[in-house]
């Protein structure tokens, strides 16, 4: 049975568990520092980096301001090019649409290109319940799937695993799902990649149905865009007879020209490359080349909820480059699973509460899973102001108050630090405002270094007072 984040504990409890795992912390630290280094070099190479970010943020704001018009244009263009467009209000509806489409083909095993949205809606589990085996084909997604694990990063879902663990998973599991791993497999990354190539090749050659996401959908032309490294995306997009692309409504960009901005930013910021090895674009279907049937499923699943939030809607600009998590000191200590969602790190701390609301203790704890150090603001290619959104969401949590979230929230950052007890004591010593980091205060204890040189935004004081009052009341 596919695992999911359903019923996941709130951030403080989940992170306490993860922080205790030394191996995981080491894996996450090593990987994030490697990507950070590469990204910094490639971003610095562009003298116009800030101008590209300005354009990207402004284009995404245009998308959000004209979303209805853009989606109707997508529908018109995709339909004219021979595709079929479906609309899904929520995860259940999206899963039902995809399941019915696969059922109609009679296929029992399908291939998938890595897509965070299909993880978000739990598509693999829904297909499994209908007797359909969906095989992941991205290397990291394969590691997660074979290990019966959960993704911990939006670009590298198996970032929390090291080569030794991956070797064990491949040697143990591949044979249960197809071609076994070669005898005597070592933990050399090249050998592990080769094992994945061999294991998946027969699946690609036999696949009749593929499911993908998309990085962008161009409204003006009805073109979908998938950016990837390994070629598994090309395999799925090209070799299957039926292609089903499941895409969030915020993924549109207005014009073809807009791609020149996003394609120049994405790989640089995500993996520290000028372009990812492969970018595929397609518009509907083409005779004699690729799938004969193409379905586009446009998914809301909370996006219109986020859109209605005047401060939070900027989170929908996200192009899932992962830079905010690679640079986040909290993520570095907890890894991705602590966030209880396929969207971890700073974007997860704001996007999940915006998509789902703050009415349960898990999502309500996430805006507190941050020190407000602002490092994410600096790397985000679409200029999301994380600190603004985090503070606004904290105010919403404080003003909501129908649930016992407060104590959990108070401990959210403390639990992830090197010396939780010292941190908690320091927070108390600072007059109990520590987790909200008022602008004037230098953070005590282990967080001090992060805050020293940063101008922190002011905290909405009203909200904090009411929040604390209820919290104290509950403790008494």
């Amino acid at each position: 049975m596919s695992r999911s984040f359903l019923g996941w504990p709130a951030f403080p409890q989940a992170s306490e568990r993860e922080v205790g795992n030394r191996q995981l912390r080491e894996n996450v630290r090593r990987a994030t520092h490697t990507i950070r280094g590469k990204r910094a070099v490639l971003a610095a190479e562009r003298p116009d980096w800030e101008q590209l970010r300005d354009s990207a943020a402004a284009i995404k704001d245009q998308v959000l301001a004209g979303l209805e018009e853009h989606l109707l244009r997508v529908e018109e263009k995709v339909t004219a090019a021979g595709g079929t467009v479906h609309w899904a209000r929520d995860a259940a509806e999206a899963n039902r649409i995809v399941t019915d489409l696969v059922r109609a083909t009679g296929e029992r095993e399908i291939v998938k290109v890595k897509s965070m949205l299909t993880e978000e809606i739990g598509l693999d589990a829904a297909l499994e319940a209908a007797g359909i085996n969906a095989r992941e084909t991205d290397l990291a997604a394969t590691i997660v799937q074979l290990g019966d694990d959960l993704p911990s990063h939006v670009v590298v879902p198996a970032l929390h695993r090291n080569r030794t663990e991956i070797r064990e998973i491949f040697a143990r599991e591949m044979g249960r799902h197809g071609r076994p791993a070669p005898e005597g497999l070592t933990d050399d990354p090249a050998e592990l990649a080769e094992a994945a190539r061999l294991h998946l090749r027969e699946k690609f050659l036999g696949a009749k149905v593929a499911v993908s996401g998309a990085n962008f959908v161009v409204a003006e032309t009805g073109t979908l865009v998938v950016v990837e490294s390994e070629g598994n995306g090309r395999m799925c997009l090209t070799l299957a007879d039926t292609l089903i692309s499941v895409v969030g409504i915020e993924k549109t960009v207005p014009t073809w020209q807009d791609l020149e901005v996003f394609l120049q930013l994405l790989a640089r910021n995500a993996t520290g490359e000028r372009m990812a090895p492969y970018t595929s674009t397609w518009t509907g279907t083409v005779d004699g080349d690729g799938p004969r049937d193409f379905h586009l499923v446009l998914v809301d699943n909370g996006r219109t909820r986020a859109l209605a939030d005047p401060v939070g809607r900027q989170a929908l600009r996200c192009i899932r480059c992962g830079a905010c998590m690679n640079t986040c000191p909290v993520y570095e200590r907890t890894g991705g699973h602590a966030y209880g969602s396929v969207y971890p790190g700073p974007i997860g701390a704001i996007l999940n509460p915006l998509l789902k609301g703050v009415d349960d203790s898990q999502t309500a704890s996430l805006p507190y899973a941050s020190t407000l150090c602002g490092a994410c603001n600096e790397v985000c290619p679409v200029r999301i102001r994380f600190t603004d959104v985090l503070l606004d969401l904290r105010a919403q949590v404080a003003d909501g108050g129908q649930h016992p979230v407060e104590r959990a929230a108070l401990g959210a950052v403390g639990a992830v630090m090197e010396r939780p007890a010292a941190w908690k004591a320091a927070v108390k010593g600072a007059g109990l405002v520590g987790p909200l980091l008022p602008g004037r205060t230098r953070l005590p204890g282990p967080l001090g270094g992060w805050t020293e040189n940063r101008a922190l935004p002011d905290v909405p004081r009203e909200s904090f007072r009411s929040w604390w009052k209820r919290n104290e009341g509950e403790r008494a």
Partner: protein, 209 residues
Amino acid sequence: MTAGTAREEILRRIRAAAVPPAPEPPRHYLRHAPGLDPHDREAGLALFAERLEEYGARVLRADAPGPAVARVLDDEGARSLVVPDGLPADWTAGWTGRVRVDRPPLGKAELDATDAVLTGCAAAVADSGTLVLDGGAAQGRRAATLLPDLHVCVVRAAQVHSALPGALARLDPARPLTFVSGPSATADIEMIRVKGVHGPRRLAVVLLE
């Protein structure tokens, strides 16, 4: 009917979100490769070759395609080659291995069992060492450039744009496009770059002056 309902409901929610209008985006970024004089053709070609080599692709600069293509195929030990229908005959004239034309279309298993594929391209980008295939002249369908393990691509110097904006403006979005920037790769295991996963593991470019 249900589909109609979902569509109307999502569009209604979007209207209800009442997002204020956004200004025209600024576009003050470069339209050519940073640090490169856009009129210096030779510098552009040199950058293109350098970027490709950084990815681990092989680059041969040549005056005519035939001998260079034959040399790459022999050096790489290829014995069978698939070519798209309509590929100029002189591109393969100097090679003695087995050449199969993808007409009628070869099966997936046949493509998979073929050592190499030879194509032209629709455009190229110096800044990122990128080739763009659009299924047009001398390129064929996507499956044929994907399954063989070696892709040899002939690029005319005039097709090389300094940076992505120039190439995108020339491409037709109605065609299925594949932007190739180096051979297939992954860094999913401890962020260590490994060349070659599912796509062609070897890429060679013959750059025609």
